[in-house]
Amino acid sequence: MDTTLLAAQLINGLQLGILLFLLASGLSLIFGIMDFVNLAHGSLYMVGAFFCATITDWTGSFIIGALLAIPATAVIGLLVEIIVVRKLYQRDHLDHVLATFGLILVFDTTTQLIWGPDGLVVPLPAWLDTRVTLFSDIVLPTYRIAIIGVGLAVAAGLWLLVSKTRLGMRIRAGASNRDMIGALGVDINLLFTLVFALGAVLAGLAGMMIAPITEASVGMGNGIIIVAFVVIVIGGIGSIKGAFAAAMIVGLIDTMGRSYLDSLFKLFMSNQNAETSAPAISAMLIYILMAAILAFRPQGLFPPKGR
């Protein structure tokens, strides 16, 4: 088997896994602590990408663009929480789903109104737009490795935040018993707002990191958010550890399935059958995986304790 291709696909799979983790961890935190289903999480991913594209265009530097887009996305997250989401915590999941579906329409149309229907290209700085050579014959794009590095750093930071800080303690306490920590004097509304903004930043970061590869486009978050849902369902809703494990599994299986499933099928069926069935099966692979896991563990791989 071609090792360079295999290594490249591994890197692509890990990079998809990292993006999915950034989206899924925010979704999972917001659901875990506020019991809130946010379909519009993908819109924050899109907003992050567009902010980054615009600021990169103004300043000429992708790094400054990304650094400034983070607080800008946080502000959008805060506004959404204060104007709409806050009114929904007491409602049932059906209302969450519908109202955030409305938010998606608002976000997509507003983005189109401001930036136009065409996507925005985000140029990479020259030092990131290179390739590194490993073991003298495997050539990999630097930027994808950088995405994985940033994502792992964020995952470590998130783990430190949740398990070692006072804020993290409150987040965990809120996830296991919302009313109790309110009764103990923690300002639960402020906590909710902060967690929502944190989720927005994580989603926005994923969007701005993918923008140089795919470009920022209207509705870019609507496809990947479903996969992020699959991730948190597999990982166990409310669990960051589960989100990480499931994101990596889904990222790798999806990427590997698309590149190697037809070769695998050719081992036991005719070439023609393999070539027609492999694309369909590989597109459905992660959903089949989800169904298989749920059939045995309806709560996901790592269900959070205490509920």
Binding site: L98, F101, L105, N222, M284, P298
Partner: protein, 326 residues
């Protein structure tokens, strides 16, 4: 029901909508504008899908975010045979019903093991699975969709190629669906379904296997929605995976909630309001602010959020409150 003196505002509105729908072809032949028949046919078919969604979502409390998947399966049950030059409607419609019922049975068995948010996300994921499945089957058009060059044939019984005939066929199917849902909801079976929405554990302790009841309800709703999908395939003459995208499922939920969940005619009112908004909102916005009509979805999204936040019970709930305040 037929004692007119006891009718309230809700019954009057429901009856007026039904009578208007029954008269659409007549009104269209007067005005000579075929376009309205198109809207009305789409309305009737989507209302049928919304009525079945209401059975599981409104009465059963199973928030399915993948209902458009059944519409798509039904539509492809017409599209694929026609592609192979099989035009027999007595084959298309059973395929649509059996296909979507089988899909509902298999996915329902897995989805119903979970509750709440898991259920929402898993139903959504399964319909996306069908979406991506059809996107990658290139024999049947893949992403680009499939043109259905002829409508189903019913061996000379009636001619679906005639738009008015097709409309009345859809309309009768809608009435039949509403009747079936009414019978189901008021039966012992329906009582168990509604009871399980309120307090599942209590019903289980009474000895009901709620899982089986819910699964049967889910399969029934899926099967009828697949039938509606076959009608949609006949009507649109062009189908693509896009029609089962998750945003289509979201629109179906909006139709149900807009009209009023767990009410018999709510989904019909909701679908009517939805399609009228979709059709006329751009024109209204253009009147107020020239060139703004292109961005009607912005206002549509805001209306959706406002309905969720401030219009509990949808149109039906609104009409009942008007009645109560008199």
């Amino acid at each position: 029901m037929l004692n007119i003196s006891s009718w309230n505002l809700r019954s009057w509105v429901n009856m007026i909508v039904l009578v208007l729908l029954a008269l659409v072809p007549v009104l269209v032949s007067w005005s000579g504008n075929e376009f309205y028949l198109d809207i009305a046919t789409r309305l009737v078919i989507l209302a049928m899908a919304a009525v079945t969604l209401n059975l599981i979502l409104g009465y059963g409390g199973m928030i399915s975010f993948g209902h458009a998947g059944f519409l798509g399966i039904g539509a492809y049950a017409v599209g694929i045979p026609v592609y192979h030059e099989i035009y027999d409607g007595f084959l298309h419609f059973p395929i649509a019903i059996i296909g979507s019922a089988t899909f509902a049975l298999i996915t329902g068995m897995i989805c119903l093991r979970t509750k709440g948010v898991h259920f929402i996300m898993i139903t959504m994921a399964f319909s996306q699975m069908v979406f991506y499945g059809f996107v990658s089957i290139e024999d049947y058009g893949g992403d680009d969709g499939l043109v259905i060059e002829a409508r189903s044939e019913f061996g000379g019984l009636f001619d679906m190629e005639n738009n008015t005939t097709l409309y009345y066929f859809c309309f009768i199917c809608l009435l039949a669906t509403i009747y079936i849902v009414r019978r189901v909801v008021n039966s012992r079976f329906g009582m168990v379904i509604q009871g399980a929405k309120g307090n599942e554990r209590r019903l289980q302790s009474l000895g009901f296997n709620t899982y089986r009841y819910q699964l049967a309800c889910y399969v029934l709703a899926g099967a009828i929605c697949g039938f509606a999908g076959a009608l949609l395939g006949n009507f649109t003459s062009f189908i693509s995976p896009e029609m089962m995208d998750w945003s289509r499922s979201g629109e179906l939920i909006f139709m149900v909630v807009l009209g009023g969940t767990a009410t018999l005619f709510g989904p019909l009112l909701g679908t009517t309001a939805f399609l009228l908004l979709e059709e006329y909102l751009p024109h209204v916005i253009d009147l107020v602010y020239k060139g703004g009509g292109v961005y009607w979805q912005l206002y549509f999204g805001i209306i959706l959020i406002l309905v969720v936040l401030y219009m509990k019970g949808g149109i039906n709930g609104f009409l009942s409150r008007r009645e109560g305040s008199k």
